[in-house]
Structure formats: C-alpha cells, structure tokens
C-alpha cells in the first residue's frame, strides 16, 4: 500500500500530522506496537527536520506485511556534510526551533537507531532525501 503526505516547512503547529496519520494506519494494520513506536519516532524526527530545516517536502510511505519504506523528499538548503550532521549534538537549528523543544542534534542519530536501514542524499541549495526502512517483527502477537 502507498500513502502520500505533504509537509509545510516552518509550520510547527502542524508538524507531526503526517506521522500521526501513518501511526493510525499502522495500528489499523495490526503492526506490532514496538515496530510502530520505532517507525513513528524515526518518521516524526524526520518530519520535524523538514519543518525545522527545509522549506517544505513530501512523504511517501510504502507499507506491506514484511516491511515499511518511507521516503521524505524536501526542498531546502540541503546538508553539506552528512557525516557531520549525523554526529550527536551537531545542530544548526535556529533559536525559534529550539524554543519549540528541538535542536539538540539528536534527531538523525535517533533515526539511525530506530531504523533497519537509513539512506540520506542531499544537494546543497536544492534539498534532501531521507529513506527510512523497517523490517517488521515476524513473530505472532502475544509472544
């Protein structure tokens, strides 16, 4: 199944709406709650990054019984040094973003921790693409 969402850059009031929709879908599909948590935590971090650091973007999620693949494509400043950005504590967040409770430089490492695979590509002054891949728990519920 394929789902598409839009992200408004800079709009902290609506940041997380797409992650919330995807959480509802995953619940309806009876995905294991531990998988749901790591998927939506990583996705929410990525969604907030688009709101905080880019001008806007799109999310497409591909969900099936064995895996979830989510791609976030944004238009924005891009990430000049991805390795540096991945380091815990590295942040270029503005004071406004910090006032919203973000900007500790924890998001990308946390996304990495919660995904089975994460791929980032970025072009400076164009934008960033983040792909989050999750292999779902195959053990039946109640175990």
């Amino acid at each position: 199944m394929l789902f598409d969402f839009e992200i408004q850059g800079g709009d902290f009031a609506t940041a997380g709406n797409a992650s919330s929709q995807i959480k509802k879908i995953l619940k309806q599909l009876n995905v294991d709650h531990r998988d749901i948590k790591r998927i939506v935590v990583a996705l929410y971090e990525a969604e907030v990054n688009v709101v905080a650091h880019a001008f806007g973007g799109k999310i497409s999620a591909e969900i099936n019984t064995t895996e979830v693949r989510i791609r976030l494509v944004d238009e924005g400043p891009g990430i000049p040094d991805i390795e540096l950005a991945m380091q815990q504590g590295y942040s270029t967040a503005s004071p406004e973003v910090r006032e919203m409770g973000f900007g500790a430089g924890m998001g990308l490492p946390n996304m990495k921790k919660n995904t089975d695979e994460m791929h980032i590509t970025s072009v400076v002054d164009e934008g960033t693409t983040v792909e989050l891949i999750f292999f779902l728990n195959q053990t039946p519920p109640n175990h």
């Binding site: 997380g16 919330s20 959480k23 935590v41 929410y44 919203m100 409770g101 973000f102 924890m106 998001g107």
Partner: protein, 114 residues
C-alpha cells in the same frame, strides 16, 4: 501508580483524558527538550515538561507516553487538548516548579528512567 493517583498526589488539575486515568505509570522523565524524550525506550512513562505546545503532545503520541504534566503554571491550549484526546493522552496542569513536581512524584514511588 495510576494516572489519577498522580494527579491527586500533586493536587493538580486534569485538563483532559480522564478516561485514560486508570492507566498505570511506573517511570517519570522531566525535560523541555523533545529530542531527548524521543530517544527513550521506556513504556509506562509520565512526562514532566514546561514546554506547552503541540509538539509536546505529538512527542507523547509518537513515544506512547500516556500522560504529560505541564509544570510552572504553563497552560494547555484547545488545540493541544484536541490532539491529546485523539491519542488518548492525559494532560495535567501543575502550578509549581519542575523540581517540586519531581520531588513529589519521587516520594510517591515514581522511578527515574536512568
């Protein structure tokens, strides 16, 4: 400890999510930084924060946190109530400091995450 017991222990106001107040919480985490909250793996957690905005509620939603206590007399907005109700999260307003809330919850047996 039930969420309802936490509220009465603090003498604090439950703003929304009374239906949820039977749920048990065992751990507490106090932070104004949502990036920190999102790194936690603990379940049955109550969040104490001075950050009263939509993102505090969204962070609780994504992290499966059933209850948020807003300290330092921070007020919950109508939009936050709507988001919390949709996700079955209890919101509590507490007029005193974060430190005081932590002391009271610790005495009541709520444990730190780490």
């Amino acid at each position: 400890m039930k969420i309802s017991e936490i509220a009465s222990h603090l003498g604090a106001v439950v703003v929304c999510g009374r239906d949820n107040a039977d749920r048990d919480v065992e751990f507490g985490f106090a932070s104004d930084l949502m990036s920190d909250v999102l790194t936690l793996e603990t379940d049955n957690l109550v969040l104490l924060t001075g950050l009263a905005n939509n993102q505090a509620v969204r962070t609780a939603e994504m992290s499966d946190i059933p209850c948020i206590i807003f300290v330092r007399n921070k007020k919950v907005t109508q939009e936050m109530i709507e988001l919390a109700t949709e996700s079955n999260i209890t919101l509590i307003e507490y007029p005193f400091s974060m430190f005081k809330a932590v002391v009271q919850l610790s005495k009541a047996g709520i444990k730190p995450v780490f």
